[in-house]
């Protein structure tokens, strides 16, 4: 993925949406400049020619969203929420880095990764709503809030199905590197398998996501090595972050009964089947970096329940309080 500013930014949101007509470099170069031309299109005309249109566009428009044979819509929806919430909450944490990274280049890279995951989240939440409209929280009649936003902004923390690794508060730069390495290693292995699943939408989302998450893993892997072999200080911080986050790693490859059931139906992926590959990739990164695999037990749940069951750390409801505050204040708002 290109890290060239500008191109990424627009591409990540909606490729080909830039309308360069208003400020053509050519016309600017050849004198006779007309400042008014910059504002062409602001007034009147067809609003659909604008970058994102003025109406909400269903990201799954035109895709066959019928539930595959023998699959329960509610189960499929819950599964989409698991994968979608992972991406959404991770994206929210990553975007907190915006304007805070150690360098402009890394600021841009982290925003890029957050945008990729946000894009995946939108598709997965929309898929969840299509598979089972019952998962979408009820809003006042006539509310223009689309299903993906109702799911993102009007669910309570107990209805979120993300792994706890995605939600814990940010730390230093080593923390975001380690979190992203653990997350993207498991997600890449998962998406690679999901491409062959029987659900057309999930398979398409996975095919698109593989390229993105491969870049995320590459970025975090390179920084892991750099910090491990940089200075004493960077190595100390990296090891501290690894130690703190390692207990949350096991949850990424721990199967929930629902994931098993959908894997058996040929629609989802059993996270346990990823263990071998995930372990091998992490072992490789650790070995190259000269870092020992941490000797830390998995973080226990509550009565055995963890993120996939809607049982989270204290951090999630705080994260959601911030994320949802404007949307919830305007349940009939148009954005």
């Amino acid at each position: 993925m290109s890290t060239e500013p500008g191109s990424i930014a627009h591409g990540s949101v909606q490729p080909g949406s830039v309308q360069p007509g208003s400020v053509e470099p050519g016309s600017v170069e050849h004198g006779g400049i007309d400042h008014g031309s910059v504002f062409d299109g602001l007034l009147g005309g067809d609003s659909s020619q604008w970058a994102f249109g003025t109406d909400f566009e269903d990201p799954l428009a035109g895709v066959d969203t019928t539930t595959p044979d023998g699959v329960d819509g509610a189960e499929l929806a819950a599964y989409c929420l698991m994968l979608g919430d992972d991406a959404l909450i991770m994206s929210q944490r990553l975007s907190e880095w915006c304007s805070r990274a150690p360098d402009l280049e890394e600021d841009i890279a982290l925003a890029n990764i957050a945008l990729d995951l946000l894009g995946q989240a939108r598709l997965l939440l929309a898929r969840a709503a299509a598979a089972d409209p019952g998962v979408v929280p009820a809003l006042p009649e006539g509310s223009p809030v689309p299903p993906e936003d109702a799911l993102a902004f009007f669910r309570g923390d107990r209805d979120f199905r993300n792994v706890r690794l995605a939600e814990v508060p940010n730390g230093d730069f080593a923390h975001v590197v380690v979190r992203l390495l653990l997350f993207s290693t498991a997600r890449l292995a998962l998406l690679e398998r999901l491409r062959a699943g029987r659900d057309h939408v999930l398979a398409a989302v996975a095919a698109k996501g593989v390229k993105e998450v491969a870049y995320h893993r590459d970025w975090s892997g390179r920084w892991f090595l750099t910090l491990a072999r940089g200075t004493d200080e960077s190595r100390r911080r990296l090891l501290a972050a690894l130690d703190a986050l390692w207990p949350l790693q096991a949850e990424l490859v721990a199967p929930h009964p629902l994931e098993r059931s959908l894997a058996e139906a040929g629609v989802g992926v059993d996270p346990a089947s990823l263990r071998e590959e995930v372990d091998a990739v992490l072992a490789q990164v650790l070995a190259v970096s000269g870092v020992e695999r941490p000797d830390r037990a998995p973080l226990a749940g509550v009565g055995g329940r963890t993120g996939r069951d809607g049982l989270h750390t204290e951090a999630l409801s705080l994260l959601l309080a911030e994320m949802q505050v404007v949307a919830r204040a305007h349940p009939e708002g148009r954005w």
């Binding site: 400042h35 604008w50 909400f56 975007s95 915006c98 402009l104 600021d107 200080e233 960077s234």
Partner: protein
């Protein structure tokens, strides 16, 4: 041969060449000779512009976490990311004048170089994201489009790209406000309140009135600047009034009216005392914006050091590996040569000798 009263020295000939380039409206390029004062003025202006992009990430970045729809979150995050990208292009353009990004960052953090004062105003509602796109980016575009023709090549080329993206941002901002105006009463009130706060600071973005603009005249002569502050301010007002009408908001200026005779809108005077206060560092967010930038810079120092150390170590290891490889090859070559010599010696040995 023409006889001139005094043969110009090297400096004079260089100055004449520079003046001729400016007069032809051609570009000055990094390796061309340029007067020191021209270089200093450009560094000051481009750096200030770059700093504005970087500091400008904060007021809008403030709302990324609270964007009320996933689509708006993506648009906003991408926009703030673009600003980081603009900062990169501009720092690169500035580096062609012989000053490093690290030096420029230091000048920003120590307060010796400025950034646009507009970013010292707070963002207090989500409508501010739209208003900044519409009015602030709109004013920035008015200022920046003429810079695409500025006399310094790398700056002009960076500006062409930046203006394209800014114009895209401006549409997105206006589109957000349009959408909110079609929403609830509370949303319409939010838009109006936001426009009320940002209207006057947007007019201040064009700088002080021409009569009080100390650097303008020379920058105009050098072709760095192409239009006066007051000309650009008038253009901005003339363009914005019909947009406000289409949007359904009121601009908070009782003196705003069309002047048939001038063919322009008349408008009131911004509060120049407030402008001076914000410029002096006493604006609502001056301290906060710089503190945020400084914290990010300082908290990232260990990462930049690690990256440098890692790069140095990798280069060193690569060199050692290369040397080891070289030594190995030399040994092998020597061995091969020895073998060839031995072979040759054997080949030239008189027949029968070996059999003895």
């Amino acid at each position: 041969m023409t006889t001139t009263p005094a043969e110009p020295g090297l400096e004079g000939r260089l100055q004449a060449g520079f003046d001729a380039t400016i007069a032809r409206h051609d570009r000055i390029e990094p390796r061309d000779w340029m007067p020191d004062a021209y270089r200093r003025t450009l560094i000051r202006q481009i750096a200030q512009h770059a700093h504005s992009e970087i500091i400008g990430m904060q007021p809008e970045g403030n709302w990324i976490g609270r964007a009320p729809s996933l689509r708006r979150k993506a648009i906003l995050l991408a926009k703030v990311q673009d600003e980081a990208g603009h900062g990169l292009y501009l720092y690169s353009a500035c580096e062609t004048l012989g000053v490093s990004r690290a030096e420029l960052t230091e000048l920003l953090l120590s307060g010796r170089q400025k950034y646009s004062s507009i970013f010292n105003y707070p963002t207090l509602s989500y409508a501010d994201v739209g208003t900044i796109g519409w009015l602030v980016d709109g004013a920035a575009i008015c200022n920046q489009v003429p810079l695409c023709r500025t006399s310094y090549g790398p700056y002009g080329r960076a500006m062409i790209r930046i203006c394209k993206e800014e114009s895209f941002h401006q549409r997105q901002g206006y589109e957000l406000l349009m959408t909110m105006m079609r929403g609830t009463d509370a949303q319409r009130a939010m838009v109006q309140e936001s426009v009320n706060r940002f209207w006057w600071p947007s007019l201040m973005m064009f700088g002080p009135p021409d009569a009080q603009s100390p650097n303008s005249e020379r920058s105009m002569a050098w072709g760095i600047k192409r239009n006066s502050n007051d000309e650009l301010r008038q253009k901005f007002v003339d363009m914005t009034v019909p947009q406000a009408e289409a949007l359904g908001v009121t601009l908070p200026d009782p003196g705003l009216r069309w002047n048939e005779e001038r063919g322009h809108y008349d408008f009131g005077e911004p509060d120049w005392a407030e402008f001076a206060a914000v410029l002096r560092g006493d604006g609502p967010c001056n301290a906060q914006r710089l503190a945020h930038r400084r914290a990010a810079h300082e908290e990232g120092a260990w990462v930049r050091e690690a990256a440098t150390a890692f790069a140095r170590r990798s280069a060193q290891e690569a060199q050692e590996a290369q040397e080891a490889q070289g030594a190995r090859e030399a040994r092998e070559a020597q061995r091969a040569q020895g073998a060839r010599k031995a072979q040759a010696a054997q080949d030239t040995r008189p027949a029968g000798e070996g059999a003895r």
